[in-house]
Amino acid sequence: MSKGFRIWGLVPAWALMLLTLILPIFIVAGVSVGERGAYGGFEWSFDLTAYRQILFTLGWTDELEFDPKYLIIIARTLGYAAGATAISLLLALPVAYWISLQSARDKALLIYLVTLPFWVSMIVRVYAWLIILGNDGMAETVYRFFGGSDVPGFLFTPGAMLVGMVYSYIPLMILPVYAAVEKLDPALIEASHDLYGSRWTALRRVIIPLASPGLVGGSILVFVPCLGTVLEPMLLGGGRQLMMGTLIQNQFGGARDWPFGAAIAMVLLVLVVLVLILNARRATRQLEVQA
């Protein structure tokens, strides 16, 4: 391969990255330091009001008052994303491990089934939960069948939001976890039993440590989209609990405050990048230990 090709051959890739990733980020960053337009939209300038707004509100006399309401939304978003990730992890590990024990033909079929929901629009899938969890829906019917008399109302609760988030993103957890446990040598698990280890010991000391790249990868793939998710809090949480995704959407929509929406989006971006950096550092540390 000539040197020219090595450089020019990468141009399409770089062009794509520039147009679809880097340029939009700069535009959002630019908007976030812009000024609210008088009739919606915004005007270019350099003004940090939007960022100040995240932490402070203006009092009656224009003095700055610390207001944690947006910090609470950020913390809540992190909490829900972490919760959905943890639940996905707990559910995905046994599922992925079970799939890895099946015959080659069944494995392919089961993995296909795991990805099947992706063929249906996200909105439709979340709406389906609206019906399942709603009044006289399947969840309430089952609850009554098992003798529950006062139906607590499943919809518009934190639980409903978590169910929706886990349901939406768990395939992204199952796939990398499966890829990791599928590579495990079954003899290693036999060896741990042979050396007096119970099933729990095998899981804790052999399967989880060896599958950890997949567990971490899957956790990132679930955690990151959960941070910005909009549909589940809106439809299943009933918009009662504001999350970052909804907040951003509101600023660009109803509130017509583009700079503030963009500022929140930048905060979200920083959070995501932080998660990725932490993971990258962990991965290099692991490589150093191995070397």
Partner: protein, 358 residues
């Protein structure tokens, strides 16, 4: 042999995988402090049997006793038996010390005792300087030693070895054989060794169980298995042999007289012969003598091929319409050199031949 206790008793054990029967009603005993080998071609059921002793498979029928206790239904982690796996199955994320300590930790040993035992084990396999390494930083032979140390550390009642030498190169294999024998003698632990390599089995074992088609074909000391095979399968699988089809003319106790295409009636030790009828005569190539070395009644033959092997020369000799493989030791150099096309006398002592039922 004086009365010794059995370490393992296999009683009427069968194993079925769907329609396939891997083991048919196997019965035998492995004695304490014995180096016992399960030998057979792939698919003979030897690995299945080993995995049932380890607890990775359970018998479809029958009972397995470990030092008199029925372990047929106890899970692998409750059996005082350890395994050296074919590809060692060392935990790649743990150091060598951690690998060896794994079993001891699960048994609930105290930390100080574990540390002492790990050190002792590393020393035993001459790997002390590598304690902090990970398995992927080791050569095949070194991994093998660690796998042994890990399996021996908890002091199992029986050590199971699943073709542990098959992943090593030839030279290393030879030295590991001696090492395994040494460890077995030093620890006094019963070793159950699975292999398809007859040379390994003959070299290392106190006793060998030859397995074929899901049955135990013969159990005995290496020389018994080689010199007195009980059936065609064993005679064929262990070493090389000539089979001469023939007709049994009379049977008397342990001996039978057989008439073969060589045209001589030969009376030799028999097994599996019920009475007159078709049978085979088995005679090993090195038991047949040519010219001056020919024993017994001799026949004339012609050499059709000759392969010089250094210590031995292998010949194919045609006599009376049958072709026989003959192997002669090259004792004195250039003495009585035979070539393709030469006429020779060949003969063998009847006590070196066996008559085997069909």
């Amino acid at each position: 042999m004086q009365k010794r206790l059995s370490a393992i008793e296999i009683i009427g054990v069968s194993k079925q995988f769907g329609d396939f029967t891997a083991l048919h009603q196997v019965d035998f005993r492995i004695l304490q402090n014995e180096f016992f080998t399960l030998l057979g071609p792939s698919g003979c059921g030897k690995t299945t049997l080993l995995r049932m002793i380890a607890g990775f498979e359970s018998p479809s029928r029958g009972t397995i006793l470990l030092n008199g206790k029925d372990i047929s239904d106890s899970p692998a982690h409750k059996r005082r038996v350890n395994t050296v796996f074919q590809n060692y199955a060392l935990f790649p994320h743990m150091t060598l010390s951690q690998n060896i300590a794994f079993g001891l930790e699960n048994l609930g040993w105290e930390r100080g005792k574990i540390r002492a035992r790990v050190g002792e084990m590393l020393e035993m396999v001459h790997m002390s300087q590598f304690a902090a390494r990970k398995p992927d930083q080791l050569s095949g032979g070194q991994r093998q030693r660690i796998a042994l140390a890990r399996a021996l550390a908890p002091g199992p009642e029986v050590l199971l070895l699943d073709e542990p030498l098959s992943a090593l190169d030839l030279k290393l294999r030879q030295s590991m054989r001696d090492e395994l024998r040494r460890l077995q003698r030093e620890t006094g632990i019963t070793f159950v060794f699975v292999t398809h390599d007859q040379e390994e089995a003959l070299d290392m074992s106190d006793r060998i169980a030859v397995m074929g088609n899901g049955h135990v074909q013969q159990i005995g000391a290496p020389d018994e298995i080689y010199e007195a095979p009980q059936n065609r399968f064993v005679a064929d699988f262990i070493g090389e042999t000539n089979f001469l089809d023939g007709e049994v003319v009379s049977v008397e106790g342990g001996h039978a007289t057989i008439r073969t295409a060589l045209g001589i009636d030969i009376t030799a030790a028999q097994s599996g012969v019920q009475g007159p009828g078709p049978a085979v005569l088995s005679i090993r190539p090195e038991k047949i003598g040519l010219d001056a070395r020919a024993e017994g009644e001799t026949r004339s033959g012609r050499i059709v091929s000759r392969n010089y092997m250094g210590g031995f020369t292998h010949y194919t000799v045609e006599a009376g319409g049958v072709s026989l493989r003959v192997s002669q030791r090259n004792a004195q150099s250039r003495q009585g050199r035979l070539d393709v096309g030469d006429e020779v006398r060949l003969g063998f002592a009847a006590e070196n031949a066996r008559v085997l039922g069909q």
